[in-house]
């Protein structure tokens, strides 16, 4: 490959299982606080996120959907806020994920509450503002990636509370299915909006596992969730988009299903959950690209710049050849770290190392 591909060309090449000019980078999300450190100026909004992606040349620049115009989060009491779906989040000062909180509980506990609940709709003014701004600025060169956060399972489970939803899967299967279907429809609609706004790449984030494994046995995944996952992927691909699938946790017990539903790449391959990017690349590189490899739990918050360089070079050497590798943090560029300055320096080191040593041909 000749040098000088645009980030978008690089993104297409890697998902087409070809070697690009260098290994592309993907970040699913970056915290305002870390962006401030890296740009060295106060964060004011989406244009700063775009500048951040540009400065670091993150090829897959992931941008999520926003709330409707004029919508504001409610604070029922101090330290707790409700989101657009009425779900409760804990607001922790100084430890926020870019203006987000930590989930506490859902809104819907019974079938009656479901019937009465007015679900947000995808196609409303404001939803695509951030994406459109980004696409207008860098969409010609970058793989501006429409991000469907909380996919299908995650959003359905957060509507009721994870524990409750898992009980419904066993004891009230039709109610569980009703919730999944509702959120499947929302995700399909979001996908349409992104693609209509120019997205050639979609990242679907649907956390369905913890470090131990999927939240449910594979047979229940197959029965309840998989049909909607598969159908969402097909609807995105039918519209011409390439699909990066994202879930935290140990996905190995359901990997076969993820491969079968036709995704182009898997992210973020969490090593702390026992996921091994080198092994996945070796075993599946002809059908699946892998995205991740830069540990954001220990390495980037706590390691030295030397450790970071060593780790990034090691992933490049072990999983870089033949294409199919996208480098990225193993979750996101968050800000829940003890020392944000150190973290920001390490993020810059990872990006610089990836750009320098990720040039093809590798080995």
């Amino acid at each position: 490959m000749s040098a000088g591909m645009t980030p978008k060309e690089r993104a297409h090449a890697v998902l087409d299982h070809k070697e690009p000019d260098r290994i592309p980078l993907l970040e699913a999300w970056a915290s305002d606080l870390t962006i401030e450190k890296i740009l060295q100026r106060p964060f004011k909004g989406i244009n700063d996120t775009v500048d951040f992606y540009k400065k670091l040349e993150i090829d897959f620049a992931c941008i999520s959907y926003g709330p409707p115009k004029d919508w504001e989060r409610k604070f029922p009491h101090e330290g707790v806020f409700l989101d657009e779906w009425g779900r409760k989040w804990q607001y922790v000062k100084g430890a926020m994920w870019g203006g987000y909180g930590f989930y506490i509980d859902g809104t819907i506990k019974t079938a009656e509450q479901y019937d009465e609940f007015e679900f947000p709709t995808a196609n409303v003014p404001g939803r695509m503002d951030a994406f459109e701004t980004t696409f207008k600025r860098i969409g010609d060169r970058f793989a501006v990636t429409g991000t469907i956060d909380e996919g299908i399972f995650q959003r359905a489970a957060l509507m009721t509370g994870l524990k409750e939803f898992l009980v419904y899967l066993h004891e009230a299967p039709s109610f569980a299915r009703q919730l999944l279907k509702k959120h499947y429809e929302f995700a399909v609609e979001l996908g349409k909006l992104f693609i209509d706004a120019g997205a050639e790449f979609i990242l679907v984030g649907d956390d369905i596992a913890d470090n131990h494994g999927p939240f449910m046995p594979p047979r229940l995944y197959e029965q309840f969730v998989y049909p909607y996952h598969r159908s969402l992927v097909q609807s995105l691909k039918k519209r011409g988009a390439k699909v990066v699938w994202d879930s935290d946790g140990n996905l190995m017990p359901i990997l076969g299903y993820l491969l079968d539903m036709g995704i182009d790449a898997l992210h973020p391959i969490e090593p702390t959950a026992g996921m091994d990017i080198v092994k996945l690349h070796r075993d599946y590189k002809d059908r699946l690209s892998v995205a991740g490899g830069v540990d954001v739990v220990n390495l980037l918050p706590l390691g030295s710049e030397e450790d970071v360089e060593k780790a990034v070079v090691s992933v490049i050497k072990e999983a870089g050849s033949g294409g199919g590798l996208i480098l990225g943090t193993t979750n996101s560029i968050h800000s829940s770290v003890p020392d944000l300055d150190k973290f920001a320096r390490n993020v810059l080191k990872y990006v610089e190392t990836a750009h320098r040593f990720g040039v093809y041909p590798i080995r």
């Binding site: 922790v92 430890a95 930590f102 506490i104 994870l162 524990k163 898992l166 229940l220 017990p253």
Partner: protein, 192 residues
Amino acid sequence: MQSTVDNALTAGMTASQVIAGIRKGFEEIGRRYEAGEYFLSELIMSGETAKSALETLKAHVQMTAREGSAKVVIGTVEGDLHDIGKNIVSMILLSSGLDVYDLGIDVKSADYVNEVRQTGAQILGLSALLTTTMLNMGTVIEDLKKAGLREKIKVIIGGQPTSQEFARQIGADAQVGDAPKVLKVLDKLMEA
């Protein structure tokens, strides 16, 4: 579940025998979970099943504090409102015949100390999901020391961000990684 418990009691089993049976069930579920044969939803369902068995049992037998059964005070530390893991642990302990005093979520250090003093508990369970709030576990241990209670109680911590190393740093007696492991950890601790 109700009929299983009814049948057991009709057949002449005592409440403690039923509870011993539930504990055995939890041990097997814990084994399967660790082996990767069981998943979180099954863990939660087993907790729900045990809960309904205990309720049935209570309806039949006068459940009073059993002679010699250990007392546990448990709760999610101050500033933290998460309780899925804590509730599973609480249910496992309750179903295994321990007297559990569950203080819920966002529990102030002073409230743990008071409860420990009042109940004379031998075990204290502290839970946290956030890296920021888990630091409050150390405060509770310091306050137990100040109240002269630290030597009388074993402190077990748990929750996603905690580790054996963190338990050592703050002077806890043990850390539980996965909820089902709590019985094993407890047995080891009480033997020591």
